[in-house]
Point group: C2
Chain length 205, copies 2
């Protein structure tokens, strides 16, 4: 076993890690607030409180900054999923994940990436941590979806992959910001509205 694995991180290493965490946290917030294109590296550096050149010592490009934020998001999703009660129904757990996503959005912590920016896509696909996290989250949610379908909790006529994408799409659902901008509803009301329209549909039950 490599000694680097068991050795406690030095003070210096922990400081470095803390700084990188601060950077990624700032990037995450800016991505949620203004999106990838509108976020500038100058801005990130200013908000973290370091020089831009120092930022580039930690991350080689703006794309990698965004990728780090997405890796963070995937880790958080994995942590949330891991903490869900295994004795709960598949449907309840799926609802809980969607609710968590909506809370993140409403709190302004959901990074949104342009779905069409190719340089960013390439960086993300090349990022092992991101892809692994995405696969893991997909697998776990996919298993719940199939279980819920088998138990008659979700419509078995829908392809499981379509249901999975429907959940993922809640992360960029503009209805949330529409409702939030209007100011007519509380965050909890928005969450309930979106959960209802998502699982129960617009037609009466």
């Amino acid at each position: 076993m490599n000694s680097a694995v068991v050795t406690k991180p030095s003070f210096k290493q922990r400081m470095l890690q803390a700084r990188e965490d601060a950077i990624v946290h700032t990037v995450n917030r800016l991505l949620a607030e203004k999106g990838f294109d509108a976020m500038t590296v100058d801005e990130v550096a200013a908000q973290v409180g370091i020089a831009k050149a120092s930022l580039y010592k930690h991350f080689p490009s703006k794309e990698d900054l965004a990728a780090a934020a997405m890796v963070r998001l995937m880790r958080q999703a994995q942590d949330f999923i891991a903490q869900l009660p295994s004795e709960a129904s598949a449907l309840d757990n799926l609802r809980a994940v969607v609710r968590w996503v909506l809370q993140l959005k409403l709190a302004g912590d959901m990074p949104t990436l342009p779905s069409q920016n190719s340089s960013l896509r390439a960086t993300l696909i090349a990022n092992r941590d991101y892809m692994d996290g995405l696969m893991d989250v997909s697998d776990r949610m996919g298993a719940w979806i199939e279980a819920a379908q088998a138990q008659g909790q979700l419509n078995p006529a829908l392809p499981a992959i379509a249901i999975l994408y429907t959940f993922f799409a809640r992360a960029c659902d503009s209805v949330v910001e529409f409702l939030q901008t209007g100011g007519l509803f509380t965050d909890e009301q928005i969450i309930e509205l979106v959960l209802t329209t998502c699982f129960d549909g617009l037609k009466p039950r």
Copy 2:
């Protein structure tokens, strides 16, 4: 009555109009393809086949180019709504509108704007044609929504405005591009899937 209203447009005026139509059409396609930020004015000029400076004689800024595309979209929506059969049920007409939106998206003709770009928002809000069109579409769909709720075709427990926003959000629904990217479904299948999840929800009926 002003003679300008009744006088037939001159050849020159029609040529001008045709060119502006070509510009807006190109902008619309580019907005659908790459979004506002990734679209460059150079690109628009090149694809239209005129010099960039000429473009700026027609439209004073990039934001105004995008606004013109949105005005065009609103007009198309108004035309589509006006042509729907008045004898059809409110629910059927609403479904038809959502279907039309999805078809536009799948055909690559749905311009997508960043919801957070403030300079663009300001231009749009200041644009009378756009706002009038948006209001008109909202009013007509809102009337159908309330009628459908009164007839028990849509869930009366949901706020009508939330239902309206849910429909509007289909125009930027990322589930469509997820499903399209996967390549597992035909366009018609994607439309049916999204219509089903939208109106019937994910749970079994």
